[in-house]
């Protein structure tokens, strides 16, 4: 027997959530499916494999004021930003939850980023497991899986007329109390079949073949549009600058991408990664080598968004396969 909630009861619960908190869920925006703040529960879509942009923007916004700077009393006063509202992100997929687990590592590791921690503590993640995969998904090769509950507070699995419910954390329990749930003898449906990629030990191969000219060739077609970093649930490179804002100044953190020219350029002109190939290598070395070795979790969770959105088809699945073959021609 598993815990169960009917679709009708789920909708009532979502309405209650929306009344008290910010409810974020996948919804149609023109011909895209994006995570947005929902005002009507009917706007939540159910016919999607995954959204076009990742939900990381609700924990790590594209631009965020860190603190404001005001000239006062002959000196300066700094006012750190606070996160006011509680949020529930509904309809996340297991890959994206694993993405949050990865994003937690650099931000929560000592010294903790307090703004990210506030977002994180005030956000509950309610997921729906995947019964269908898309052509570009490869989560099970990257440490996740179509029914992997890691990172969720609550995970739902769709069955006839409702969902099997796994309440995984205290936060989840407080959000969806046992009293709202019933029992069901329904069998757990078969999880989606997901394509695989030979990612095992790719970090070793990458390190061994670090100087291979492969990266220069790959970078030829990159146009540095930064899309890969922006759609990715785990990319977290950021820029910090001061911007004027109505008499005060805001210190703003914003998304950046290691692919953009000038990412590592120092005032004075020296740029250790002026060459496109070195920037291309940096992306995949960070994803597949540095981050996993530093934090013990994968930095690519196999959602496939970069594959879908890269205008010139720089495909991490192809790259993983290629890297595994590097150096094999002759040692």
């Amino acid at each position: 027997m598993s815990k169960y909630i009917s679709k009708k009861d789920l909708n009532s619960w979502l309405n209650k959530v929306r009344d008290n908190r910010r409810l974020v869920a996948p919804t149609k925006v023109d011909d895209l499916i994006l995570f947005k703040e929902i005002s009507r529960v009917e706007d939540i879509v159910s016919d999607y494999v995954n959204t076009d942009l990742s939900p990381k923007e609700f924990l790590f916004p594209p631009t965020e004021v860190l603190f404001s700077i005001e000239k006062k009393n002959g000196g300066v006063e700094l006012t750190p930003a606070r996160v006011e509202k509680e949020t529930v992100i509904f309809g996340m997929r297991p890959c994206d939850a694993k993405g949050v687990v990865a994003l937690d590592k650099p931000f929560l590791e000592d010294p903790t980023d307090p703004l990210y921690k506030e977002h994180r503590d005030k956000t509950a993640l309610v997921g729906i497991s995947c019964l269908k995969a898309c052509a570009e998904c490869f989560c099970s090769s990257m440490g996740s899986g179509p029914d992997d509950p890691s990172g969720f507070d609550i995970m739902l699995t769709e069955v006839k007329d409702g969902y099997l419910v796994q309440v995984l954390t205290e936060k989840g329990k407080a959000l969806l109390p046992d009293s709202t749930l019933s029992e069901s003898g329904e069998a757990k449906p078969k999880a989606a079949e997901v394509a695989t990629v030979p990612a095992k030990d790719v970090n070793v191969k990458l390190r061994q073949n670090f100087e291979d000219p492969y990266w220069n060739r790959l970078a030829d077609r990159c146009i540095h549009c930064n899309m890969c970093s922006y759609v990715c649930p785990t990319c977290y490179c950021f820029d910090i600058r001061d911007y004027p804002n109505k008499g005060k100044t805001d210190r703003v953190r914003s998304w950046e991408s290691c692919q953009s020219a000038g990412f590592t350029k120092i005032a004075g002109g020296h740029d250790p990664r002026a060459n496109k190939g070195t920037r291309m290598r940096q992306r995949f070395a960070h994803k597949l080598l540095y981050f996993p070795e530093q934090f013990g979790v994968s930095h690519c969770i196999g959602c496939g968004r970069c594959v879908k959105s890269c205008p010139v088809n720089i495909d991490i699945r192809e790259i993983i396969q290629d890297v595994q073959k590097l150096g094999a021609k002759g040692e």
Binding site: T63, D220, I223, M227, V231, R241, V252
Partner: protein, 286 residues
Amino acid sequence: MNETEQIRSKAKELLDSKKVDCVIGYERATDEKNARPMFAYNAKDADRLIFDQTCRHNLVRYLLNRKDKVTGIVVKACDSRAVNLLINEHQIARDKLFIIGVACPGLVKTDWNKPGDKLRDACQLCQQRTPVIYDVLIGEAKKVEPPADAYPDVAAMEGKSVEEKRAFWEKEFSRCIRCYACRQACPGCYCSECFVDRLDPLWVGIRIAPGENEMWNTIRAYHLGGRCIGCYACELVCPVNIPLSLLNRKLEKEVMKLFKFQPGLDPETPQPLATFQKDEKLGVAE
């Protein structure tokens, strides 16, 4: 021989004779359905070149990184206008290029793993299927009947009231995530320091906010006024499907009205918005 075979043959000839260092063309993408840019450095690479209606990228962009090398490049009609633009603006040298022009049947509306067969909107309105500059032409030069109205999409916008237009663009720009993919894909956007990257003076802030999104997109369109050659690669790469071509086509229409000028038809004609002549008259061209 079809286009693909002809392109492969020509590319191999150029590479084997070392006439060029590299041929930039297209190959099959990993979804097995669409095309992606590729750089062929030898005959073996050249065997992967293809040409079909999913070859939507404007490859001329890549020439800006290869100014000191001799490069072969596959261009469609709109792309070829970009070649003329860059020669006109002294960004690339004619003698460093071997241009493989392809008579273009028009691109299909397509997405990763979701190829279509319907012709892309801009391609339906295209009046020039044959490249205007090339060293060799592949495919038959097709004549296209000019439509009664070359800009029905622009006319539809012009018919809206100011409030309707404002509401339209507010909605469209609200999705902009300032990834600057549009700028990166455009062969005309090559400033070493883009105005949005300047901090001093700060023209446009980093905030992803309505005012700033609008500033970014409209100013970029203006910087391309009289220069945009109409490939609309910007619209193709936009991850949130903003109809950027509408902005560029409005300015195209105005420039045509004022100066009877279409950018990129040849490498010599001075650009009206970049040139001042002593006997210049202000007003609509006769």
